[in-house]
Symmetry: C2
Subunit: 358 residues, 2 copies
DNA sequence: CTGAAAGCGCTTACAG
DNA sequence: CTGAAAGCGCTTACAG
């Protein structure tokens, strides 16, 4: 590390007295509003037991003064912080568009709900971190990406008493509150779409079969065959790892085996598959039609290539539902440890990668 | 949104009395340690005025008990939260690997410094957000990605009295505390590397010329030419937009104009450029050698393609330096509004995209 | 419906 | 070097 230019000089500014306008407090609000702190507090928090006109007057005044309750004080007094944590696996933010989209959606939902969002990236300091997150007292609850599961301390977090909701499913435990995209039917729809485009020999590149959602998507692939009166050729089912790099090889194999359509388990691998097609001079969608999953493929590839048809994750709905479920737990209306699974149906976004003329 | 399966049942657990072990407080620590709260507080905070053996005993005890000071209480009492905010542009997390890498690095640095990190994604609610961030009282300071600049409320944030450090430079204001990668020399090094590989006609695809760093990188490109005794052919300088999609077109143009090497302003466009090469049957690096900038191109493209040579952003150092500079402002040793610019020298990571046999 | 008062868990002058 | 005490800005029983 090297400081190439340092133009700063250190100054102590004792001259200015009130550089920062003192933030107004509940006390100010109450005094200016001619009520007690208790009443002011109830008014701005929408609690019962305040005469309508008083509430109206106080909230208006609060707005006008730009009053924002101090979070720390509020938390200390109430035990609630209105801050939730988002737990993500270590490297995913960098490498995985799914995680990036999810973070983005959760951040926006949180902002809309006036919740703070603390980012917790798995992997920093194994042992200490869990304790930190838990005992800081700064968090009301956690939104945990199921992609983070596997890391030792994520399970610790799940087993703690802190309210939590999982986005995605746990690979082998069912007792959590989860929200996930609907995988099976939506995958069937995607594959059926390929059949409708005239494909007769459709292969699939799956994610890691250890994952629940991956198996569900494969189920959907099978269901679509059944419905079309076709049988699945097992040699057309190839397991990938959800990384872009596993796409080309798998696709090349499928092409060798004569497919005219591929349902790919996520967009990253689908992009890899499209590369393979380019490299092998296989035309998309004419020779091989391709459908992906996630809907993350478009942002990254506005390079004039073929737009990818994909089952689009309902990120915004996943995020806001997760936050709602978390709020229910915090409020005590939802038990943290009773299995409670919500699934949200995604849409199929149709691009040129699967649409055949005629 | 559709709840496909709801297996949960609502239970109120009044049977168990202490489901959550009551977190231990400073009071507990003091009592168990046989000192006053004041002394306990000073001991664990490393403040002067505590006998060495007492401090030792108390910290040890704190560790043993797993004591963590309640952040809210600490903040309310001291006025400091040990939480910083990270401000990012709205969509970047999804689309831009640079922003994702940066977030990742800041998150890790913050964790290491025992700082909380609140994520603020620009664009949610224009007006309210600034006030929220500022008046919540939850933040000690802000780390702002210069990529977020341009959005109206980011400037508001910069003009507020909250401590802030910019990662990257402001396009036209110089009075902030910033930390940035060194652009000029490192770009010169990258281009010189191409000359050393035998390239004689090196073009460049720049980012948007409105950005300071883009102009600096272009300067480096020129400097390298001077040093090699070559003159710059202006027709080989093409402006891109830092998005992947602008890579292929620019690269095709340069290839048409006979380049044998390209210095690309960021990895995203470099990846696009490599696509163009594949499409045009131009061999990399044999026909055209390519160097990118950022070091974000590798994670995304482990697809067996040619590894990209790139000037690698020192994300970890940028993040930890930013946090240090922020701490200095909070401590009052660094003035928030005196220009103070730190530059960190990146490394050139050499991959197959630029190395010619012989 | 409203208010006086206690208390959340810390930090920090102020005395000793 | 150490402790008693006040106070940070809220919320929430508890009385009225």
């Amino acid at each position: 590390m090297e400081a190439l230019s340092v133009k700063g000089s250190f100054v102590s500014s004792t001259e200015t007295h009130q550089p920062v306008p003192a933030p107004i407090t509940l006390d100010d609000l109450a005094r200016l509003g001619g009520v007690s702190r208790a009443t002011a507090s109830r008014a701005i928090n929408g609690q019962p037991g305040v005469r309508a006109d008083v509430r109206e007057r106080i909230t208006r005044l609060a707005d006008h003064l730009g009053f924002r309750p101090n979070r720390a004080a509020r938390q200390l007094a109430s035990g609630r912080s209105n801050v939730v944590g988002l737990v993500l696996p270590s490297d995913d933010l960098r490498v995985d568009p799914y995680a990036a989209s999810l973070s983005h959606a959760v951040a926006r939902s949180a902002a809309r709900a006036d919740l703070g969002l603390m980012l917790h990236v798995v992997a920093s300091e194994p042992g200490r971190t869990v304790a930190h997150i838990l005992r800081d007292g700064l968090l009301d609850g956690l939104v945990i990406s199921s992609v983070a599961i596997g890391h030792p301390w994520v399970d610790e977090l799940l087993d703690s008493s802190m309210p939590a909701v999982l986005i995605g499913r746990h690979p082998h435990r069912d007792e959590f509150v989860t929200v996930d995209v609907e995988n099976r039917e939506s995958s069937a729809t995607a594959v059926t779409h390929l059949f409708e485009q005239g494909c007769r020999r459709v292969g699939t590149i799956t994610g890691p079969m250890s994952r629940v959602d991956v198996r569900q998507r494969l189920d959907g692939y099978r269901v679509a065959h059944e419905r079309a009166g076709l049988t699945v050729d097992p040699s057309l089912v190839i397991e990938g790892d959800f990384q872009r790099g596993s796409g080309p090889g798998a696709a090349a194999l499928l092409i060798e085996r004569g497919v005219d359509g591929i349902f790919v388990g996520n967009d990253e691998m689908a992009i890899g598959a499209m590369w393979a097609c380019t490299a092998l001079s296989v035309r998309v969608p004419h020779d091989v039609a391709i459908v992906g999953f996630d809907g993350t493929g478009s942002g990254l590839d506005t390079h004039g290539e073929v737009a990818l048809t994909s089952v689009v994750q309902p990120f915004a709905a996943l995020a806001s539902t997760a936050l709602d479920l978390l709020a229910d737990q915090v409020a005590g209306t939802l038990h943290r440890r009773r299995a409670h699974h919500v699934e949200i149906a995604p849409d199929l976004s149709i691009g040129a990668s699967s649409v055949r003329a005629g």
